[in-house]
Amino acid sequence: MSASTQEHLLPELVSLARAREALDGGAHTVRSLTEAALARAEEIAPLHAFITLQPDQALSRADALDDAAPWARGPLWGIPVVLKDNVAQAGVANRAGSHVLPDVPETADAPVAARLTAAGAVVIGRTNMHELAWGGTTDNPHHGACRNPWDPARNSAGSSGGTASAVAAGVAPLGIGTDTGGSVRLPCAVTNLTGLRPTIGRVPTAGVVPLCWTLDTVGPMGRSARDARAMFDVIADPAPPPDPGTAPTALRGLRVGVLADYTFAVLQPGVAAATTALLATLAEHGAEVAEVALPDLDLMTDALIVVDAAEPSAIHATHVREHPERLGADVRAQLLAGFGFSAVDYLQAQRFRTHLAQHLARVWDAVDVLVMPTLPFTAPRVGERTVLLNGTKTDNLRANVRFTALPSLTGTPALSLPGGFDDDGLPIGMQLVAPSGRDSWLLDVGAAIQDVTDHHLRCATAI
């Protein structure tokens, strides 16, 4: 299946395979590809995808990589990548899209940044994000509302909205996001990208501004599962020993579980149709699709919010009390509201996570992977704080995590991949969830799905 990229996009900046081909074949030097990425980043400035571009560092690094001997080239040699603004880079302030964190340069790279550099990647800039990663719209009060390249009147979700907009707009084939309650998966879903929330602990979070100690992860975002896998292989710790009875990576014989009642209860029509279509495709290619059940799913959002609100309020207690004026109104209100939970509320929410994880462990006896949408709707308009679902206005923050909460609470890996388009031509994301530790396998399942579908090959055309 060949990539059908639009004319205004440079194919080498859309797909990792095309970038490698161009570099290995001599069509591009690392410098010329880096220059092209930087030029495209300037072109899409109206999307507010970036907080800072790093042209001097990137070009100097590109020249060094052009001089490197072939045997010294890493797996991402010469590939332009973007970093979310909460990942430490030596010599650069790490402020997580906020003015409340100190404007002081870091002394060392985060392990994730160091691993990318060691693999030969060229970081071209730091991307916009929801302030402190505490929200899902990337409507950043300091750096502008990040806009979606599929329709700039709409947002790119969040909190890794800047990485999603940059990659979807063809600035770089790959980018780094972070995911606490859905912040890699949601932006990928609304921009037609593929992104992984890894098993908790699989990718080091050192040097990443914390939002929530017991939920935070760092994950790859790219056009396809294969591209995301290439980045994951670089940033992840070595895999733990494989589970006995490793599941197949081919679709034939894959046991697919669907939480039918929960999944189809509250969906926009286009998202429901895409979910049904993916399940039909899987069945057509030999997967065994079965309904499964988990208890208390309607409480997941509430449990996630308790943990996902209490921990940031603890982390940023001094900031919000001493400098509330430096925070945007929404994040300030959320941090203050987080003080309202009692210690018992917090512990009961953490006990709920154990309860859910115990039941999910039994589900893995029956199926290899769960399939559901990543979120129940397509990209909302910039500034909208509610979404219409089944005729009811629902708070965006709550509606966002309806499906992403399950992997976040249970610590399991989850992959968001393109699942089609609604009547307005907006991308729909589908989420696959696997048992803990099966991150690479999950990415391979995503690649197998993308071998028989072509949604991921469509690129944004609005800018």
Binding site: N94, P102, W213, A337
Partner: protein, 50 residues
Amino acid sequence: MDEETRAVSAVWLAGAAAVSARVAELAYDLPPSIAHFDRSRRTPAAEDAR
């Protein structure tokens, strides 16, 4: 507490109460899932600025 914070807090506390009520019905020995705390992750610059 301003109006926005009060509104957010009211919804969240109602949710927390629902979770707590359900957990209270579950097994007595159900430990909290807090094994993933990693206090070493604060970035060096933020630490230095304190």
